[in-house]
Symmetry: C2
Subunit: 211 residues, 2 copies
């Protein structure tokens, strides 16, 4: 009896992927509010309890397991770099490559579903706040580096933490733009890599106008 005589037997990754895929498809078809966890479970062929063993919340299943994180190597380079601060900082946050879903179309479907839904968008923002502390510290280090190079006095150095905080908040807003514009460019095909050069150039033009 190899055909599911009760408890399914598959790897964690497979089940997780099945849940994610089923959840996204259902939300795209019926809308976020109309989809219950029970429906997702039925579509994925599992029990509700198993669903919550794989995902902490319904939203988590829709956002997926690929959380944004700071690229530590890039962060070390960032601190001592001379390049444009904001554009470079935006490049620090990436999705861990080993957590990317096996099915690439899932990402596009997900962005489609998430961008339609304010609730999910808010949750996605919430994820970013998790790494904001880390980000602020890295930016503070970079500011310190820059200030020392420029021969700053003590009063200026003392103000850097506050400045780092402002920049971190600006960056949080910027990252939302990066995500959105990337999704927009992806359309319904395979997502293209983020164009760092393009972002840098455009940001440069924008920043000059802010002051």
């Amino acid at each position: 009896m190899s055909t599911e005589p009760g408890t399914r037997r598959r790897g964690v990754a497979e089940t997780t992927a099945a849940i994610e895929s089923a959840a996204i498809d259902l939300v795209i078809e019926h809308g976020y509010d109309q989809v219950t966890v029970d429906m997702i479970c039925q579509a994925a062929g599992i029990s509700q309890r198993t669903f919550f063993n794989h995902f902490k919340t319904k939203d988590a299943a829709l956002l997926g397991t690929d959380e944004p994180a700071i690229d530590q190597q890039a962060a070390r380079e960032f601190i001592v770099s001379d390049g444009p601060l904001l554009a470079e900082a935006a490049g620090l946050v990436r999705i861990e490559p080993d957590r990317l879903p096996a099915d690439p179309s899932l990402i596009v479907r997900r962005i489609d579903a998430v961008s339609q839904n304010p609730m999910l968008l808010a949750r996605q923002m919430e994820r970013l706040t998790a790494i904001e502390d880390e980000l602020r510290q890295i930016i503070a280090l970079r500011l310190r580096q820059d200030a020392i190079k420029a021969g700053a006095d003590d009063a200026e150095l003392a103000d850097l933490p506050e400045q780092a905080e402002i920049i971190t908040h600006l960056l949080a807003g910027l990252m939302r733009y990066v995500g959105l514009s990337w999704a927009r460019r992806a359309g319904d095909g395979t997502p293209p890599p983020i164009d760092a050069g393009h972002l840098t150039e455009r940001l440069g033009r924008v920043i000059r106008k802010l002051g």
Copy 2:
């Protein structure tokens, strides 16, 4: 028998304010997760059903009824202004004065509670997205004004909407900072007015470092 012989009699505003105040205090004391709607109801002296007649969700009670909105008069001045773009734009978003709670300390307590909690922060962000479209259009007008003054060519003008979008996202991040630092400065006393000059000066120093 004037003392609550069953159904309380007070205006909507009074009950709403009582709920908000009780909710905030409980969250500050016990933390978001530890506070149930039932607890809030008990503290405010109402039934659960009444709670949900006043607020759609538990989060809504904590965020309050005073939603941020754009000051239209200020917006008109902003479009033709020569001042620092980002700092001035941050001043456009205000809480409608007639929706301010009677008890001024409530705002400070609320920001305190909200800033502690990622869940609530996300919800607050969600509210801001409601006015982001409007904000983007205003910024686009200002950019156009500036560009024409500077004698920009068609290619530059065509890029302005995209730039406006980036700035709007940066601004969304900045507003979070403004709220936080304002609450921090308020401490536990009466909230002081936001110091526009201070913000402008500090932002100017920061923006120079972004490029």
